[in-house]
């Protein structure tokens, strides 16, 4: 029985998957860059804003492959657990695989060790997943960039972390964004802060309004971003009470009010 029932005492999910032969390491980097044989599906613009009760995440729903719009119902804002949201831009396939891994990794740790994984531990796990993805990313496929939003129970505040493709992690004071559209609207975030005040002092309603306006501008400037017109974006927030799903009706009302 001993060999079938695990001796994996660390609560590390990757150790478990490796011991069962279920973890597929990306192939080693080749000396020559390879010609990309397939067109990947990419997710585009995602935005994270602090507000009074936590962090709001909003993402448009377009997924593209080169010039083609592949899908207009993509979900790019996903809960990792009750206090952590991940927003993803870039390779949809790798991102979904790694999100699934992270969800299981956090749950596995909590259930085996009988304590929650610390926020620091969760953030390091995201870095590790990105670093493990590097050899693929260097070959030109599989690169994705996440923005992690967490409610820090110890500090009673929402926090936003963004990453580069190698797994470097940075904490952001007010907002985070990723994807092709996000680069075009960077200045708008600062403009809002300077004219209307910091995001973390806004109500949910105000933050929702700003985030939808930002998506709308991104869609004007970036062909890969759908914005808010055809399909409403996905909006989720992370708060002291867990994940808050923003209902479509509320988003539809805000969209209407933005038309004025």
């Amino acid at each position: 029985m001993g060999e079938r029932l695990s001796a994996n005492t660390s609560g590390d999910f990757m150790t478990l998957l490796r011991s069962r032969g279920l973890w597929r390491e990306p192939d080693a980097v080749t000396a020559e860059p390879v010609r990309n044989p397939l067109t990947e599906v990419h997710g585009t613009t995602v935005i994270a804003l602090k507000y009074r009760e936590g962090v709001l995440n909003v993402g448009d729903r377009r997924a593209t492959a080169a010039n083609a719009i592949m899908y207009d119902r993509a979900e790019k804002i996903l809960p990792l657990d009750d206090y952590t949201l991940i927003a993803i831009a870039g390779s949809y396939a790798r991102a979904m695989e790694i999100v699934r891994y992270l969800q299981h990794s956090f749950k596995y740790y909590a259930r085996t060790q009988l304590q929650e994984m610390s926020l620091e531990g969760k953030l390091a796990e995201v870095s590790r997943a990105l670093a493990g993805n590097l050899s693929l990313a260097l070959q030109g496929i599989g690169l994705f960039i996440p923005v992690v939003s967490a409610y820090d129970v110890d500090r009673s505040e929402g926090r936003i972390f963004f990453y580069d493709g190698m797994g470097a992690r940075f904490e952001s004071v007010e907002f985070g964004a990723a994807g092709s559209g996000s680069e075009r609207i960077r200045g708008v975030f600062d403009y809002i802060i300077k004219t209307k005040g910091p995001f973390h002092e806004m109500t949910l309603e105000e933050a929702l309004r700003e985030s939808m306006l930002l998506l709308d501008i991104a869609a004007d400037l970036d062909s890969a971003t759908a914005g808010i017109e055809k399909v409403l974006p996905v909006a989720r927030a992370v708060t002291a009470d867990g994940i808050l799903e923003i209902p479509e009706e509320q988003l539809a009302e805000i969209k209407q009010s933005l038309k004025r």
């Binding site: 029985m1 001993g2 079938r4 029932l5 478990l16 998957l17 279920l22 009750d82 299981h104 799903e245």
Partner: protein, 257 residues
């Protein structure tokens, strides 16, 4: 040493006696479906007894702590590896108990050169509706039984039968609410414990434990032990469906009994 079939029978008999003697004193576990979820309840001294296995799966048992721990971690490993490699919907109680855990327990029991598992375990799976909830009880010899509505593990099989009578009274109609489920589970625990320990010693054959006796016994036990109740919550929007009930949720029910 020459090993004969006679030795095998003899050693199985010895093992059974040895294990059952050790299990008799264990604190029973009651499992019951209620309208808003599934409840597992037991009384304990210090060690935690009720554990989350997967999104809709929990577990508790009685017997040797480290044996229970091996089963707990084995079930969690299997559930997570399957949930990741396939999907969370593919992690079911019958796969976890029937294929991941029970064959190993059976093997350990049959292997007379190694120590058997000294456990009786109770797994619970929450469905979308109470009638879809499933309980599996797993015995030290690897045998398992699946049940709807309620299940129990206790020091003796007779005690388990008595517990089920408390959990599903004859006039029961559909799934109870959480308060009623807690009340039934507490009474079932007391009956299971009384039946396995006291009744066994006194060798009473009368199977009517009076309400008064159940109540007095439960309150005596609560001087040394505390209630542990875990639920899988059918109605929560949280990612995590499992939680241990707070004292403030259990106390009013204790006062009513």
């Amino acid at each position: 040493m020459v090993y004969t079939p006679y030795d095998f029978n003899e050693s199985v008999r010895h093992r059974t006696e040895y294990i059952e003697e050790r299990l008799r004193d264990g604190s029973p576990v009651a499992g019951i479906s209620y309208d808003g979820g599934v409840l597992l309840l037991s009384l304990r001294r210090t060690q935690r007894k009720i554990f989350e296995i997967y999104d809709r799966l929990m577990f508790a048992g009685l017997g040797n702590q480290s044996d229970l721990e091996i089963i707990r971690v084995g079930a969690i490993d299997f559930a997570h590896q399957e949930g990741y490699a396939r999907s969370p919907d593919d992690v079911t109680i019958q796969r976890v108990v029937g294929f991941a855990i029970s064959p190993g327990v059976k093997r350990a029991f049959g292997d007379v050169l190694n120590a058997p598992f000294v456990v009786r375990a109770l797994f619970a799976e929450m469905g979308r509706k109470p009638e879809d909830d499933l309980f599996y009880t797993l015995n030290y010899d690897g045998e398992f039984v699946s049940l709807n509505w309620a299940a129990a593990v206790a020091g003796t099989p007779e005690a388990e039968e008595q517990m089920i009578r408390q959990l599903v009274p004859e006039d029961a109609d559909g799934a109870p609410d959480l308060q009623t489920a807690l009340e039934r589970a507490l009474r079932a625990w007391a009956v299971g414990r009384l039946w396995a320990v006291e009744v066994h010693r006194e060798e009473e054959e009368d199977d009517t434990l009076t309400d008064e006796r159940i109540r007095t016994f439960l309150h005596e036990q609560l001087e040394d032990l505390q209630v542990e109740a875990g639920v899988l919550d059918r109605l929560t929007k949280r990612e995590r469906k499992f939680r241990l009930l707070k004292d403030s949720e259990v106390q009013p029910v204790l006062e009513r009994i």
